[in-house]
């Protein structure tokens, strides 16, 4: 309990100081309230039944799109990485395109997605997917390529099939790398979803975009808070799964190779 307090308390102090300072600055009219909302006003947006419902619904929509996009990235990204790792020439032929694909800014692709897929959640999901797939590919691939050569020899010696090597050795061995990719991908999926929503409307991105035209900075800030909360939640979930999966391992065991 004491330890928990000690790890939570320190970061809370600057937060409280900043909130009080913001409140003062706005109340004293040093900064006009259409630029920065008073923290109490943002808080009111969360408790006011009308805006609260709107924000809750938006968060739910964004969460659904981000999670679906993320899961698609995990499945597709890992499959692509497995294919790329299957042979040197496959990797040399296709990996450059994966890199190229990643460098095209999502904000430039989003309008195209609307033209192809239309307005609505599928576009948002596609946007979340596109931004989050590359880290999954890159990290899974580097994990698959880092298999301990001694263990590869061992599997060869016992005549292990291709599938057996993949599922009993290479994929499990790549798990720490895969989780690194998933952590990055989870955050990016939320960003991707919100970018998509800016174009198609709906979700947190939609709320922020509309609030901008209505000059409702309080709602914009509420949306920002919700978006980062969503990202942190996903990140925490992945960390938990990663911890549960890898807790029997030990860093030294892998570096033994």
């Amino acid at each position: 309990m004491k330890r928990l307090l000690r790890s939570i308390l320190p970061p809370l102090i600057p937060l409280v100081v900043i909130l009080i300072a913001l409140e003062l600055i706005v109340r004293m009219n040093w900064v006009p309230s259409y630029l920065v909302p008073a923290p109490t006003k943002v808080f009111k947006a969360f408790v006011n039944p009308i805006t609260a419902r709107e924000l809750w619904q938006a968060t739910l929509d964004t969460a659904i799109a981000a999670v679906i996009g993320f899961l698609a990235s995990v499945v597709v990204g890992m499959m692509i990485a497995i294919l790329l790792s299957s042979a040197g020439w496959v990797q040399r032929a296709f990996y450059p395109y994966a890199v190229f694909f990643q460098t095209v800014p999502i904000i430039a692709i989003a309008p195209l997605l609307v033209i192809w897929i239309g307005f609505g959640m599928p576009t948002v999901i596609a946007s979340a997917f596109i931004v989050s797939v590359f880290p999954v590919i890159a990290n899974t691939l580097s994990g698959l390529l880092s298999t301990d050569p001694a263990l590869r020899d061992l599997f060869r010696l016992y005549g292990a099939s291709h599938t057996a090597s993949l599922f009993k050795l290479r994929l499990p061995y790549a798990l720490p790398n895969i989780f690194t990719g998933l952590r990055v991908a989870a955050g990016l999926a939320v960003i991707g979803a919100i970018v998509g929503e800016f174009i198609t409307g709906g979700g947190i991105g939609g709320v922020i975009d509309i609030s901008r035209t209505q000059q409702r900075v309080d709602k914009i800030f509420a949306g920002l808070l919700l978006a980062s909360l969503l990202g942190i939640t996903l990140f925490g979930l992945i960390n938990l799964i990663s911890y549960l999966t890898l807790r029997n391992w030990h860093a030294s065991e892998r570096s033994e190779a």
């Binding site: 599997f155 016992y158 009993k168």
Partner: protein
């Protein structure tokens, strides 16, 4: 006793190396013209300076690498074992570090070779458990590698190698990373395991002491590219305990090997 031992030595795999050479791309020649016959059931130590090509030689014997020229052939005389070889791997390999799968328990690590060879689950678990008992880590069957000491991990690695009842056991400096006491215990245990089984053992080491203690025959190699300096039969009792290491006859064998290493280096 000796007759039983002699009878058991008759099984295992014999290894015939015919003028093998291994040159790596870039011109490094690791092994240069080695011709050797290892008889079925022998315990042979490969001794040589670091980087001389011992691992390369062992990998070629295991079929994990191919010689640039020359041939490696393995022969198994026993009909019973030939039948068994359809299911049981003939060769097992132990590396310098344990190289266990960190996500598998000790028991499941030892079951792995049987699993890859598609042995039925029940039999797998029984064999693995029996093997863990033999090397003295049965109490840790449910533990994970990360929870074990280096010595125990190496025992598990040995169990994993032996669980398929190989006819040829290849070990590449398996105990080099362990402390002296643990190493001597494992030497003794390995020697006893060999005595109780029908298998050929090739053991790569830097240690003259270890080679003399373990083997019936020691082959000393030159600096890279590896060539044979001497092929020496070790005249020590069949049953060996660690106290032997301080006997004068042991010192004599060590001196022979030491002189050969000097000559080759």
């Amino acid at each position: 006793m000796t007759t039983i031992v002699a009878a058991q030595r008759a099984v295992g795999t014999s290894v015939i190396l015919q003028d093998i050479r291994r040159e790596f791309p870039g011109g490094v020649c690791a092994v240069d013209g080695i011709t050797l016959t290892i008889n079925a059931g022998e315990f042979v130590a490969f001794l040589g300076p670091s980087g001389c090509g011992k691992s390369t030689l062992l990998r070629m014997i295991a079929g994990l690498d191919r010689p640039t020229s020359g041939s490696v052939s393995l022969e198994s005389k026993s009909r019973e074992l030939q039948y068994d070889s359809k299911r049981r791997s003939n060769i097992a390999y132990v590396f310098q570090d344990a190289h266990l799968l960190p996500w598998r328990s000790v028991l499941r690590n030892v079951m792995l070779p049987l699993e890859l060879m598609r042995v039925p689950t029940r039999e797998r678990e029984e064999s693995a458990m029996a093997m863990l008992e033999q090397v003295g880590v049965a109490d840790f069957a449910r533990s994970y590698p990360a929870q074990l000491s280096g010595g125990m991990r190496m025992r598990v690695s040995l169990a994993r190698a032996l669980v398929t009842q190989p006819q040829l056991l290849l070990l590449d400096e398996p105990f080099a990373a362990l402390d002296e006491i643990t190493r001597q215990q494992l030497d003794e245990q390995l020697r006893n395991l060999w005595l109780s089984r029908a298998m050929t053992v090739l053991f790569v080491t830097h240690s003259i002491n270890e080679a003399a203690f373990l083997a019936e025959r020691a082959i000393v190699f030159t600096r890279r590219p590896a060539r044979v300096v001497i092929d020496h039969a070790i005249h020590l009792p069949t049953e060996r305990v660690n106290a032997l290491r301080t006997e004068p006859e042991f010192a004599r064998e060590m001196k022979t090997l030491f002189d050969a290493l000097e000559l080759g280096g």
